[in-house]
């Protein structure tokens, strides 16, 4: 767990962090969202002491990081950034092996770990190990960047817009692959983003920041559905209602009564937005939500979506 208590960072003429108190629970992914200059990257960088706060405390798994050696601390925390920062003179394998090598892990196990990580990132080890960063596409480089962050199997990951520099199509693919990976690995992740869709897709919790302070913290459905301030409401814009549907799972609304034979189907993890779009596209009275095994678990209709939202009291 990462716990921030009244963290402040004062630079010469401006305050980057204005008293941030936040807990990132173990095994969850917390997205720091907000306009540029809101302090989200600064907050992220305080965790591995790339930035030392002016005041306040940060504990990682109960230990005050001020008492930790910054270098040792960083070796125990994964770090991935938008511009990737792959070392151009090192091969993909050497890049991924950076932290394990610094930790002095045995060569053979590092090499096996590199292959495992490349496999996780859907990059064929035989083809990619020996390549140089200059020989990778933007998406491949970002996958390698994430693999490098995961290399020493740290319990905590810091990710600063790690998928920011990829084209939209690849970005969607990398995101969902990463989500799948996180469901298996259950790392504690602090993730900076300025992309609302990305935040909703990935986050267990969203922390919306503004001017170095937290504007609202909660699940995507809470933050999108019940904005705590006009700023939050404005941040999600006119799309907010559609975004809210995206934060809600179709499976939670599905009822056996709404099952219709021959209705179009959607996968277990689909959102209400997916369900609605499917209803509209197919002109069907209901869609069938499948469970993880592909069996029909219930149906969703426009009515049931409306009732669900009304029950939440969130569709204003």
């Amino acid at each position: 767990m990462i716990a921030f208590t009244d963290v402040r960072k004062q630079y010469e003429n401006h305050a980057a962090l204005n008293g941030v108190t936040l807990n990132v629970e173990e095994g969850t992914l917390c997205v720091l969202l907000g306009p540029s200059g809101c302090g989200k990257t600064t907050l992220l960088r305080t965790v591995n002491r790339l930035v030392d706060p002016t005041s306040g405390t940060i504990t990682v798994n109960g230990r005050d990081i001020r008492n930790e050696n910054p270098v040792e601390l960083r070796r125990g925390i994964g770090y991935a950034i938008q511009s990737v920062g792959l070392f151009p003179h090192r091969t993909v394998a050497e890049n991924i092996a950076t932290t394990p090598d610094l930790l002095g892990m045995p060569r053979a196990s590092v090499s096996a770990r590199v292959d495992e990580l490349l496999g996780m990132m859907k990059l064929d080890p035989a083809r990619y190990r020996g390549r140089y960063p200059a020989e990778l596409s933007g998406g491949e480089a970002q996958r390698v960047g994430v693999a490098r962050a995961l290399a020493a199997d740290p319990p905590i990951l810091l990710m600063d817009e790690p998928f920011g520099a990829v084209d939209p199509i690849n970005r969607a693919a990398i995101r969902s692959e990463f989500l799948e990976l996180q469901r298996r690995l259950r790392k504690t992740i602090l993730f900076v983003s300025h992309d609302i869709q990305e935040a909703i897709l990935l986050a267990d919790r969203i922390t919306l920041m503004r001017n170095g302070a937290i504007e609202q913290h909660g699940t995507p459905a809470e933050v999108v559905g019940s904005p705590a301030s006009p700023f939050v409401e404005e941040f999600f814009g006119s799309d907010r209602q559609m975004l809210l549907l995206e934060t809600l799972r179709a499976a939670d609304t599905a009822t056996p009564e709404a099952l219709h034979a021959g209705a179009p189907t959607i996968a277990y993890g689909s959102s209400l937005r997916d369900a609605l779009l499917r209803l509209l596209a197919d002109g069907a009275p209901s869609v069938t939500v499948l469970d993880a095994n592909g069996a029909a678990m219930g149906g969703v209709t426009v009515d049931s979506i409306q009732r669900h939202l009304a029950a939440r009291g969130e569709m204003r």
Binding site: G76, L102, L158
Partner: protein, 222 residues
């Protein structure tokens, strides 16, 4: 006297002059590199120091070599070293400093911030960042500075014949004094050839020291 006869008669003294020339340059470059690279590194850590070092090296660079030799005679005469190879090497070191310091600074500052940030974030110590990331990436640029300094030094060392430092310049000077074109040409051609060889040799070293991944990046359009 034919060219062949000239070369036969003066082969020994030409070789000696060449050796003197190469020796002066080699010593001067070694000193300038040992001083210039750390100065350049220091200059990137401390921007004030960097500014001062560059300004000093720039001023030296603008003084014509013959004037610098003249200026050094009275000063070094105090220690009885006003003429000869000693002042020549000092001048060569001073001239070589600018390209070496400047290229060291430019190469180090040109490393993307994200690369260094990633290295630090992944847990490298400052020393490891320098050894594993900054130095390998800056090395080709640093060698390029040494190459520029070396090629320039070949020319400056020729002028050093005026203060009795010997070398290939001695042939040029003697040829002019005795109005013997053959001798001047021998010195001049030898000098030009030496500059060319030094240039090619160090270009090769520069390429050899460029990490493969960086070469691939350079060959690809961004």
């Amino acid at each position: 006297m034919s060219v062949l006869q000239f070369l036969q008669e003066y082969d020994t003294s030409l070789l000696i002059a060449l050796a003197e020339h190469v020796r002066m340059i080699a010593i001067a470059l070694a000193i300038a590199t040992l001083a210039g690279v750390p100065l350049g590194v220091w200059g990137t850590r401390n921007s004030r120091a960097g500014g001062i070092v560059l300004a000093f090296a720039n001023v030296i660079q603008t003084i014509p070599s013959i004037a610098l030799f003249g200026l050094m005679i009275p000063v070094l005469a105090l220690v009885n070293r006003g003429i000869g190879t000693f002042p020549a090497i000092i001048a060569l070191v001073l001239y070589a400093l600018l390209p070496i310091v400047r290229n060291t600074m430019v190469s180090l500052l040109g490393i993307p911030h994200a690369t260094v940030d990633a290295a630090r974030g992944l847990g490298m110590t400052e020393g490891e960042i320098f050894r594993h990331v900054m130095l390998p990436l800056a090395l080709p640029g640093i060698v390029s500075g040494i190459r520029i300094a070396a090629t320039m030094s070949v020319g400056v060392a020729a002028v050093a014949a005026f203060i009795g430092a010997g070398g290939m310049g001695h042939f040029i000077l003697r040829g002019i004094q005795t109005t013997w074109p053959m001798m001047t040409i021998a010195g001049a051609v030898g000098n030009a050839l030496l500059a060319l060889i030094v240039e090619l040799l160090l270009e090769w070293v520069e390429r050899a020291l460029t990490p493969r991944g960086v070469r691939i990046a350079a060959e690809r359009p961004a």
